[in-house]
Symmetry: C2
Subunit: 362 residues, 2 copies
Amino acid sequence: MKARFGKLFVVLALVFASVSLTACSAVQHSGKLEPIVIQEQGSFTAGGTVITSPGTFDPVKMTPEGQTFHGDHVYAFYQIPEKARKLPLVFWHGYGQFSKTWETTPDGREGFQNIFLRRDYPVYLLDQPRRGNAGRSTVARTIEPVPDEQRWFNIFRVGIWPEFYPEVQFPQDQSSLEQYFRQMTPDTGPIDIDVNSDAVAALFDKIGPGVLVTHSHSGGMGWATVMKNPEIKAVVSYEPGSNFVFPEGEVPPEKNSSGGSLKPVEVPLDEFMKLTKIPIVIYYGDFIPAEPTDIPGQDMWRIRLEMARLWADAVNRHGGDATVVHLPEVGILGNTHFPFSDLNNLEIADLMSEWLAQKGLD
Amino acid sequence: MKARFGKLFVVLALVFASVSLTACSAVQHSGKLEPIVIQEQGSFTAGGTVITSPGTFDPVKMTPEGQTFHGDHVYAFYQIPEKARKLPLVFWHGYGQFSKTWETTPDGREGFQNIFLRRDYPVYLLDQPRRGNAGRSTVARTIEPVPDEQRWFNIFRVGIWPEFYPEVQFPQDQSSLEQYFRQMTPDTGPIDIDVNSDAVAALFDKIGPGVLVTHSHSGGMGWATVMKNPEIKAVVSYEPGSNFVFPEGEVPPEKNSSGGSLKPVEVPLDEFMKLTKIPIVIYYGDFIPAEPTDIPGQDMWRIRLEMARLWADAVNRHGGDATVVHLPEVGILGNTHFPFSDLNNLEIADLMSEWLAQKGLD
């Protein structure tokens, strides 16, 4: 009898080990990671517009007459894992960035692309119109190499250059910093909230229902896109930085900081109400001061966190479901403006996974 | 006895079926494709340079003084399949294009990225400096939306706008053409052969030995990169379009066409000799005239095919192993300037697979 229980125990232990292995597949081992099984992957563009030159095309001269120019689309690379969950995650980068935001971290660890593929979510990474691989812009632009990386180091709250914040969740070696700086890419045309939200709305027309994950500048463009397409079933927004929309008559005053002002945007109530129909969660990292400071790279985030709270209040006042999580307040310390690629990004991913599960989006 | 042979036959048939299934995993079934098992995937930048503004960074003013600008790197997204072959394939796009060249085809089929992952090759897709996701350029540039797509339709030998070539291996629906046009992206700085070949050479320093696969404009930059890094163990070049290098004293005359001239480039013999140490194969598609024509989109390829043959002769004269395959001459008809994404791209991939096998590169 004892022997038989012994065997049963071994079998159960094996079953349990195999279950935990599956559940923990996102954990990064010191050795080789488990392979990712991809049922389908590829890329496409969505949305955009066409310029047509008047006249007839001449195949000898090939001057612009009668020719077209397709631009202002969004580009997306997608991967659908085997045994995929139902709702895909659509990841939208922030200002000056592109899909790299969600790919390999500056120090070579897995970003949210791989982490959420391992958690069985279909993953779409997009480049917004006039950025990265979606570079065909219908509006001209001059791009100049203006040295600006120490500014971004501060604004992205890695530290106050050349010092890293103490206990910051960012690798401090030279090679990581170099990869971080090189993950920026310029705008090939003016940033246009309408152009961008139209294109991402067109993406959701193509792929159907999904969860939009935004970062920084795409936060506000994300709200604009939700108001254009009901296929967006939820939003996870990391450190939204602009375009906080409020219904007519409820717009709070502009906020000021040493890093510039932040003006909320008025929209008709019936548009705003679309934001109350889906669950929304917003995360902000560490090193955001509670009181005004003359360091603009910090102070600009103080007013954004304040505005995000007012915004969530407005959404909830109208029956919505918006939550603002300031990570240090839930005991998660040291995060920069890029929590999803910080050293603790698996913990940050766990938080997002739990929220998706709570909202029945998994 | 008969029954036992019967059973044996069933078993053998099953083994055979399973073997053929593996061998044909790149074949696109009308239904669902087999999943792709990825051991590792991610992205990084390589090479590039840094501009530094004199002075000291001021965290309050955040003006350019004392700030840096990292640019002119190459960006790569890579995938390593489970049970990978030894040598990765590094795919380099052509003029006006980016990694999309090798991803999903305009009509939604699998491109060389997926096809060669299915054939167990590690695959790297790069964006050259100042293009796509590698947009940080150390030299300024103005980008303007000049309608030019009918010109490219002709130069890429899809047809003579608005007519498609008869029997062309290109989908003729509107949506495919739109995706094709939208897979272009502009340069964010001037094209610089040295900058680009330096960056791709730096990529090979990072990843070690591999096979370089080039297209069109990257063909000539590929020869330049081979001369900079012996980690490139072979080159597959689709329709190389410029920078044909010849040793001192052996440079053929410039060639002229209604689509402009093509001037070969002189290099020292000891540099040229590096191109004789590795196997090289060059493919050109269909619709290239044998005699001069006043249609520049055709005629410019006539002189390139002629020059490629002179170039291969020069390489082989010095003991090298270069082959030029003009696809119609081996019975493969209808290919455009993009054979690897044409309707018959699996046949084109088979040709490349066979060549890699012949040269012991698989």
